[in-house]
């Protein structure tokens, strides 16, 4: 069961990563003038408000699954990291849990800033909150992957 939860947690994180990265790139675009020519232009040229509800839902689901997996980490993984003298790995996990909490708290405002019709006065806040969430999601994804594979990375 725990393995299945871990896999689903990882898969949801990948979906979330894709959605928030699209939106973070799209919101950085100052003014779309010409039709998209390059891969980057097309990547940024998505209708970014369409991702908002999916991102909120995916963040919450990934968060809940992470919360359910936490006890197993505390009993099995953390003592192993301490035995292996991997203090930095423990620190990375600590930052992951705090970042996830801060990201969760930002979701209501994020949803408000992206609510249609998009309000001009929210332009800057919409961009910065999206970038914060993108940073949190990327950081937590990479930390999770490193910790998940740590025995292979540090045999």
């Amino acid at each position: 069961m725990i393995q299945l939860m871990l896999i689903v947690h990882g898969v949801l994180a990948v979906f979330l990563l894709g959605a928030i990265t699209h939106q973070a790139f799209a919101v950085a675009r100052v003014r779309p003038t010409a039709p998209a020519q390059t891969v980057v232009d097309r990547f940024r040229g998505v209708h970014s408000p369409a991702f908002t509800n999916a991102i909120v839902l995916l963040f919450c689901l990934t968060f809940v699954l992470g919360g359910l997996l936490y006890p197993r980490y505390r009993i099995d993984v953390r003592p192993m990291l301490e035995d292996m003298q991997l203090r930095a790995a423990n620190g990375m996990f600590e930052s992951k849990e705090h970042f996830a909490a801060v990201g969760l708290g930002l979701l209501p405002a994020y949803w408000l800033f992206w609510r249609l019709p998009l309000r001009r006065e929210y332009t800057d806040s919409r961009k910065y909150v999206t970038w914060i969430l993108a940073f949190v999601v990327w950081w937590n994804f990479l930390v999770g992957e490193v910790l998940n594979n740590i025995r292979g990375l540090f045999p």
Binding site: G91, E94, H98, V102, G105, L107, P108, A109, S125, I132
Partner: protein, 109 residues
């Protein structure tokens, strides 16, 4: 609660979460409640390490921050919430992330 209160909630949640975390750090593990994975239960009081194993305080910080933020958001009048600059959301959010990175650097030395 109006949608303007969402901004207030987002600002307060990060701050109250970090306040509860730092309080636990400074008081050697004081928290609203603890979850003991080895026992599979929530407890108000600290349990012996030998029999209960290590506790998880994270759930307590989250629950405390959620309740405090909802209550405080509801107290704030709607006119105040609407006047509150929306830039505070990302400024406070960024400040919380920086505070986390600064505090957690202790693990890397």
């Amino acid at each position: 609660m109006s949608t303007a209160h969402f901004k207030v909630f987002s600002i307060l949640f990060g701050v109250t979460y970090m306040a509860m975390f730092f309080y636990s750090e400074r008081t050697a593990g004081q928290a609203l409640f603890r979850y003991y994975p080895a026992l599979g239960g929530f407890y108000r009081e600290s349990q012996p390490m030998e029999t209960a194993g290590p506790p998880i305080l994270w759930y307590s910080w989250l629950a405390g921050a959620f309740v405090a933020s909802v209550v405080l958001s509801l107290i704030v009048p709607r006119s105040w919430a609407e006047r509150m600059p929306d830039s505070w959301v990302w400024i406070v959010g960024t400040a919380m992330l920086i505070a986390i990175l600064v505090y957690e650097r202790r693990w890397f030395y």
